[in-house]
Amino acid sequence: MSEKLIVEKIVKGEFTWRSLPPAAMISVPTSMMYKTGSWRISKPVIDRDKCTKCLLCWVFCPDMSIKRLPDNSVEVDYEYCKGCGICAEECPVKAITIVEE
């Protein structure tokens, strides 16, 4: 069974201790299964006019929830963003504000 298939089965709850890889050593990003966006109580909002495309928010985001677009502009992936606020803290031009959900 391919590991991709294993992940699909994990998502569906179709697994046993035997079918899981030993010690959870796995080559596919199972963390995609966990949509941590629901943990959020406040969210980052990006002001595109102020953004200088420095990508510091993309570097600092601990959850890979800042999406880098081809022109180096950025978007927030709200499915996974936990609203920690690190991006707003690091933004040198105050282009990111944290607003209550």
Binding site: F15, W17, L20, P22, A23, A24, M25, S27, S31
Partner: protein, 397 residues
């Protein structure tokens, strides 16, 4: 041409014997932090590395917690990995012990068993390893220096077996074995090489084939990963038997999970871990000459606990004495006692039994102590019971 294989005997302390075995195992990484009474193990290894006799990375960490963490990282690259500690050092490693076993890192660690503080004491007892008993490691105990050497080699083979992939501890009594010189029969380097083979760790860190290690598992999967650990520990004894048998063929020395001595027809069996087994055997042999049916049961593999074999041996006994060189404070007895007790209960064996807490903090266990304990056991055989269930042997009342 002589058909008799040349035997090489050398005089070594327990620590030197382990260091020599580790050198012969040709380890790749040694990470450790010095602590009495194991210091000489890593001291010798650092010398082997410095003198060019062993090609390995020798890393002195800033603590035992770091030392074992380094070992995990090294083991996951496929390196043959060794560390060594005792007492407070093992206690400081504690959280990493769990991580090493559940990440299935095949590490071999020598533990020079020593008491825990406080009061400060550097001498032998088993409190340190009993604290680490439930961490998912395989725990082996040596009764003498020869066994310390042999079990170290067996441990590498066992830990690295593809159906095991677990860390193993080799326990040897602090000072009593670590610092005593005994004649040791060592194997030729080539035999060790052939016996151990290459480390074929299958999940090695490889940037071209990335894997996630030590991930988070939420309530939906966590329990399945713990069941894996439970199952692999259940199958480890069978694999140990195969490896020990192979070792017996090349060395002439056979190590069962249990080492029974005159237990066949014994009415009284004394069970112990570590060097005291030798003292008890010496006394049992003398008692046999007097016509008393005395037996001794040494435990080589303490975890996974050899339940089946224990039942087989104890089922014929009338009185059992358990020697505990540690105590489970606030519990129902010493750790070995509670293991034996629950094994007997599970198997419907009602045998007169008592726990003897002895030798804490290095208090000597003498021939006269073993004689006295056997005497008490034979009195219990006559009376049908001991006068108490837990004895603090030799404590000044």
């Amino acid at each position: 041409m002589s058909l008799v294989k040349q035997i090489r005997m050398v005089a070594l302390t327990g620590n030197e014997a382990i260091a020599y075995a580790v050198k012969q195992a040709n380890v790749d990484v040694i990470a450790a932090y010095p602590i009495t009474p194991q210091t000489i193990i890593v001291e010798r290894l650092s010398k082997y590395v410095a003198d060019g006799e062993l090609e390995a990375a020798f890393i002195q960490a800033e603590s035992e917690h770091s030392a074992l963490s380094i070992c995990i990282g090294a083991a996951l690259t496929g390196a043959r990995t060794f560390t060594s500690t005792a007492s407070q050092g093992l206690a400081l490693m504690h959280e990493v012990l769990h991580i090493a076993s559940s990440m299935r890192a095949p590490i071999v660690m020598a533990v020079a068993n020593r008491a825990l503080n406080s009061p400060l004491n550097i001498h032998c007892d088993h409190s340190d390893i009993m604290n680490a008993r439930d961490t998912g490691w395989i725990h082996l105990f040596a009764n003498n220096v020869q066994q310390a050497y042999d079990l170290t080699l067996i441990a590498f083979r066992l830990s690295e077996d593809l159906d095991v992939l677990l860390p193993t501890s080799i326990n040897l009594d602090g000072f009593i074995l670590t610092h005593s010189v005994e004649p040791v029969e060592v194997l030729p380097d080539e035999d060790v090489r052939n016996f151990l083979g290459e480390n074929r760790y299958p999940y090695e860190i490889d940037f071209n084939k990335p894997l996630a290690y030590g991930v988070m598992a939420l309530p939906d999967t966590y329990m399945e990963f713990r069941k894996q650990l439970y199952e692999v520990l259940k199958s480890a004894p069978r694999i140990y038997d195969e490896i020990a048998e192979e070792y017996a063929k090349i060395s002439g020395r056979r190590y069962g999970k249990l080492l029974p001595y005159f237990t066949e027809d014994a009415e009284v069996i004394v069970i112990a871990l570590g060097s005291s087994v030798e003292t008890l055997k010496y006394v049992a042999k003398r008692l046999r000459r007097e016509g008393l049916k005395a037996g001794v049961l040494g435990i080589t593999m303490y975890r996974p606990f050899p339940e089946e074999e224990l039942v087989e041996i104890l089922s014929k006994a009338k009185v059992v004495v358990v020697m505990d060189r540690a105590y489970s404070y606030g519990g129902v007895g010493g750790p070995l006692y509670t293991d034996v007790l629950s094994t007997l209960y599970k198997n419907d064996l009602k045998i007169t039994i008592a726990d003897f807490i002895y030798g804490l903090g290095g208090r000597d266990f003498k021939i006269s102590d073993a004689e006295e304990i056997f005497k008490k056991a034979f009195r219990a055989l006559e009376k049908g019971s001991f006068d108490q269930d837990i004895y603090w042997w030799g404590v000044k009342e």
